[in-house]
Amino acid sequence: MSENSQENTRSSNAAISAVTQSISFSGPLPPPGLLKQYNDVIPNGAERIMAMAERQSAHREALEDKVVTGNLASQARGSHYAFLICLVSIVGGFVLIGMGKSIVGVSAVIGSLATLTSVFLLAKREQRRDRMEKSATVDKRIDS
């Protein structure tokens, strides 16, 4: 066997003996080994990351609390304003009917009720879309 072919055989053997290592991890939390590796890179890395995650959780919870509380207040305002506007519109409509302006009065009453019904249907559809989207995201993450 020539020297050149021996060299080729050696290099192909070396290529065959190369080991490919792949690690996969699935779950809601990152693998513990990943945190451990940070200890090698930065002093006290894992503990610092855990502390940061705790701060992040507290910050997220505070934000969520503000958003939900704010949205609930906005929802209450929506109810109060809509009630006042409709009350004025419907009472005004009946007053107009009493004054003999039946067409305008009936229009005001029916218009108010129609607007409320439309908002009800649109808001319900929007809420359903929001709920379904969130539910699908959770299910997708559980399945993955």
Partner: protein, 72 residues
């Protein structure tokens, strides 16, 4: 990249328009919630969602640390 999970997945966010809709909701038909087939499934989904949130926070912290280490 997977979509971020939200902790309030059981219900939709309240809004100004949902408040307006409530004026006409005299029979309590407006509110609906994400339900599960069984109570066990509901518990499992809720627990999984909670841990996913913890995992997201942890991954965010790791990502931030990675950026800091790179920039240092």
């Amino acid at each position: 990249m997977l979509k971020r999970v939200k902790t309030d997945f059981l219900f939709a966010q309240p809004s100004f328009s949902s408040g307006v809709a409530r004026v006409i909701d005299l029979w309590g038909q407006f509110d609906e919630y994400n339900t599960s087939e069984t109570p066990e499934e509901a518990d499992a989904r809720a627990i999984a969602s909670d841990w996913m949130m913890v995992g997201q926070d942890l991954l965010d912290a790791i990502e931030r640390t990675r950026t800091e280490v790179k920039s240092a």
